[in-house]
Amino acid sequence: MADKIKFIIKDLDLYYDTFQALKKVNIEIKENKVTAFIGPSGCGKSTLLRCLNRMNDLIDNVKIEGAVTLDEIDIYGDIDVINLRTKVGMVFQKPNPFPMTVYDNIAYGPRCQGIKDKKKLDEIVERSIVQSALWDEVKDRLNKSALGLSGGQQQRLCIARAIAMEPEVILMDEPTSALDPIATAKIEELMETLKKKYTIVIVTHSMQQAARISDDTAFFLSGEVIESGKTIGIFTNPRDKRTEDYITGRFG
């Protein structure tokens, strides 16, 4: 069965003032797959990630041309951005729990959406934390501050917080770069489970991580997508010499 396409990015140009950060980017992101964006710093991979839930709207002087569709709907058209960001959740490089209890961190989004029923909130909190493979570690400290959790636990809490909104897509911007190998392995394991339910797009600086966890990979260089396709193909037999040179560490 052919994979369903979640995002279609077509001829996307993005400018920060006069600087062009993305150049005619064309790429498709498949549903229920993990897609990795790789490339050297400043290549545009995080910029593209932030285009997928319009986080770049928050930056001044950004100009975007081209199209990004989510389930065939143009997300730069006349849409509700809040609704878009509910559908397309995000996890950042540094875990950023709110300075409140574990429970309140997860319940924050649903409460903002108007859910007040305690039983319903309890359900959402438990389900989100279970799905983030954190339940056993925090079930006895739901009412303690989230800031007391370890870095890896905090990051899984942030994933739980994103999941609580029942998104369709989770964007992850270097989600494990601040974590130790064990915490990283836990997040990677988690992604394998999460992709059954969600579409995941991850920006990573670790080639090995991209190779380990993603189904598809796109390699960026100076704002362009040089090569994209199945991860196994990119890492065993890249078509473009620039991809080969980057992933084998011939330039960095």
């Binding site: 080639m207 090995q208 190779a211 890492f235 065993t236 037999n237 890249p238 991809t243 080969e244 992933i247 084998t248 560490g249 011939r250 330039f251 960095g252």
Partner: protein
């Protein structure tokens, strides 16, 4: 900016070690045939001794490959190279084993007067050594343009094998006392043919390193098969 000096140094070492192992193997094969033709038992024993060196090299290079994989986590061409290196090593080691097999026959026949002068076997060994060289050159230069020559030589090898087989079976039919020697010489020719097969395997590995595609040597095989029809074995 080149940021993988250490990695490149390790790969360079791997190349050199495989090259060294292949030249030891080539020499063994060459000397095995000289020993057989000249009935030089000392040389035959020396070749057998050198097999320990090849075995040790195989282990050393395997460990080197494992170390590179563990520490450098290679991808793309580097990964294909390392994955193929294991296969290349195995094939080189088998070639060395065949040189040993030939020397064992030399020692076995040491008290015999040969039933005929050996002409085609040395000829066949030259071609076998050529194909080993071709495959190793392809590996060293990461260049598979030698494929047509490789095919040509493989066909020649096959042709020589069939000729030797026919001639020696006729000796056996003529006089059953020839069986002891003739059957051993057929073994020698068969070992040389196997050497050609191992060289082909090495060439296929190089093809994978260079192109990323496992070549199904169908054209190659169909050439050989067409040729086999022309010169049947029996």
């Amino acid at each position: 900016m080149v940021i993988r000096k250490h990695f490149d140094k390790e790969l360079d070492k791997l190349h050199k070690e495989i090259l060294l192992m292949s030249s030891i193997t080539e020499e063994m094969l060459k000397d095995a045939i000289i020993a057989l033709v000249k009935k030089d038992i000392e040389l035959a024993k020396d070749v057998i001794k050198r097999d320990d060196l090849v075995d040790a090299k195989e282990i050393y290079i395997q460990e080197l490959c494992v170390r590179i994989i563990a520490t450098q986590q290679p991808v793309a061409t580097d990964l294909r190279l390392l994955a193929s290196a294991f296969k290349i090593l195995t094939n080189l080691e088998r070639i060395a084993d065949h040189a040993v097999n030939i020397c064992e026959i030399t020692i076995f026949l040491k008290d015999e007067i040969y039933i005929k002068t050996l002409i085609d076997i040395p000829k066949m060994s030259e071609v076998a050594i050529d194909v080993v060289k071709l495959s190793i050159d392809a590996f060293v230069n990461q260049d598979i343009s030698g494929l047509p020559v490789m095919i040509e030589k493989e066909i020649e090898l096959d042709h020589l094998f069939r000729r030797i087989y026919k001639e020696l079976t006729s000796y056996m039919i003529k006089d059953s006392s020839n069986i002891k020697q003739a059957s051993r010489f057929i073994f020698v020719a068969s070992y040389l043919e196997r050497v050609g097969d191992h060289a082909t395997n090495i060439f296929e590995s190089v093809h994978y390193i260079v192109t990323g595609q496992y070549k199904d040597f169908k054209d190659f095989e169909s050439n050989i098969l067409a040729h086999k029809k022309e010169v049947p074995l029996d």
